[in-house]
């Protein structure tokens, strides 16, 4: 007897979800990212008005001055949905763990001279408090924002900030042999040192900013856009130049993360600015409003971190931010 094995090909009637077809305009098989993002935003059947405002819905497009015809278009070029994001972060964490254990095994931190050690404690470790504020700010954006494309990314960003705060904390614990003394000194510097007070005040003002898109611009574009080049690039270079490469190794995650953060945030303002002239003007106004304040608050911190190279460090950070803003068509 002869048996014929025939392969049978079943052609699927539809390649993706209807809401994705409506968004992309074609029934091509779509990425997991789009399938996990488009159509997820709750839009109707809000039975109760929120307690915090009787004029708003639970999820309301009017929580910001920015207007979009389709909020899903604020997509994340990294294509992070929960799965892709956790996998990417776990890989980065493996690399970071290896760096930390390398530094620990070789006792590299003991070789750091006392003045640089003090500088790391009073100028770098307080950033953990700023990262916590960044966590709260991004959580606010994901709570009051609209359109899952941006709120899911803001929510992941918020968790990233906690991770960064934890890495900064670990650097402190490695410096003081797990006693936590450095963290207490750093907190005291954050609360009392004159160099940090303008920054602390600014951070607290940001926590009370109501427009979530304004907060996005202030925190994720301007503040991060200036602080990261200053602290992780210029200050990192300073430590490396004095022969202490351990600092750069332990902050590698943050530099890598910032490059990625830039890709996400640049795309958001690029799409929002391209939507309409009024959006573009509003974004420009917010940047003009926040950038001088942030720069001024950073001045004493940069002075403490970089000494005579402070102005050069700040100029480099501003140039980096301006280049980004020019590229996305704001300015």
């Amino acid at each position: 007897m002869q048996v014929d094995i025939k392969s049978l090909s079943i052609k699927p009637l539809r390649n993706t979800f209807d809401q994705v077809v409506r968004f992309t305009g074609s029934d091509k098989s779509a990425s997991r990212y789009l399938e996990a993002t488009i159509g997820v935003q709750p839009e109707v059947n809000f039975h109760y008005k929120p307690l915090w405002s009787k004029n708003r819905d639970l999820y309301d497009k009017e929580n910001t001055l920015i207007v979009m015809s389709d909020w899903y278009r604020l997509l994340d070029p990294r294509q992070y949905y929960y799965g892709a994001w956790t996998i990417a972060r776990s890989k980065q964490q493996d690399a970071a763990e290896r760096n930390f254990s390398f530094v620990e095994k070789r006792n590299m931190l003991e070789a750091i001279p006392a003045d640089l050690r003090d500088k790391i404690i009073t100028t770098f470790l307080p950033l953990r408090h700023m990262e916590y504020a960044a966590n709260l700010n991004n959580t606010y954006m994901s709570a009051y924002g609209y359109g899952v494309s941006i709120t899911q990314a803001a929510s992941m960003c918020a968790m990233d900030r906690l991770g960064i705060a934890q890495y900064i904390t670990r650097i402190g614990l490695m410096l003081d042999g797990n006693s936590g003394d450095t963290l207490k000194t750093a907190k005291a510097a954050w609360q009392n040192s004159p160099a940090w007070q303008p920054m602390r005040e600014l951070t607290e003002n940001m926590l009370t900013t109501e427009d979530w898109f304004e907060l996005f611009v202030a925190q994720n574009i301007v503040l991060d856009g200036l602080v990261y080049p200053l602290m992780y690039q210029s200050f990192g270079d300073l430590t490396s130049a004095s022969g202490q490469t351990s600092f750069a190794m332990m902050t590698e995650f943050m530099s890598e993360w910032f490059d990625e953060h830039v890709r996400w945030t640049d795309n958001i303002i690029k799409v929002a600015a391209a939507e309409s002239d009024s959006n573009k003007a509003q974004l420009g106004k917010w940047i003009q409003q926040w950038q001088p304040q942030i720069l001024q608050a950073l001045q004493p911190v940069a002075q403490q971190a970089l000494g005579s190279a402070a102005q050069a460090g700040l100029d480099a950070a501003v140039a980096h931010l301006s280049a980004r803003l020019n590229k996305v068509g704001i300015n």
Binding site: S7, S9, K11, R32, P77
Partner: protein, 90 residues
């Protein structure tokens, strides 16, 4: 003509989707046919997978050598660099 064809067969899954889309965009002569679990991509003479095009669709860095994780079968002479993976037959 038929003796100068090259082909690439890729698994039909989420990891291979950006590669398939990059091939579609970069090789106008490529013909893609779907089989259960597999995409077979035929092209006359040359078929190229560019790192940049895949990265654009994937949203992160991609090494052309990673294509081997998804490759079911191929035919043609391989030309492989850091920037592309190509099959040729002249």
């Amino acid at each position: 003509m038929s003796d100068k064809m090259v082909f690439l067969a890729l698994q039909d899954n989420e990891d291979a989707r950006p590669i398939r889309e990059a091939i579609e965009a970069d090789n106008p002569l490529a013909v893609i046919s779907q089989y259960p679990g597999v995409y077979k991509i035929d092209a006359p003479g040359r078929l190229v997978v560019n790192r940049e095009s895949v990265e654009e669709r994937l949203g992160r860095a991609w090494n052309p050598q990673d294509i081997h994780l998804l490759l079911v079968s191929l035919s043609g002479n391989i030309d492989e660099t850091e920037d592309y993976f190509a099959l040729e037959r002249t």
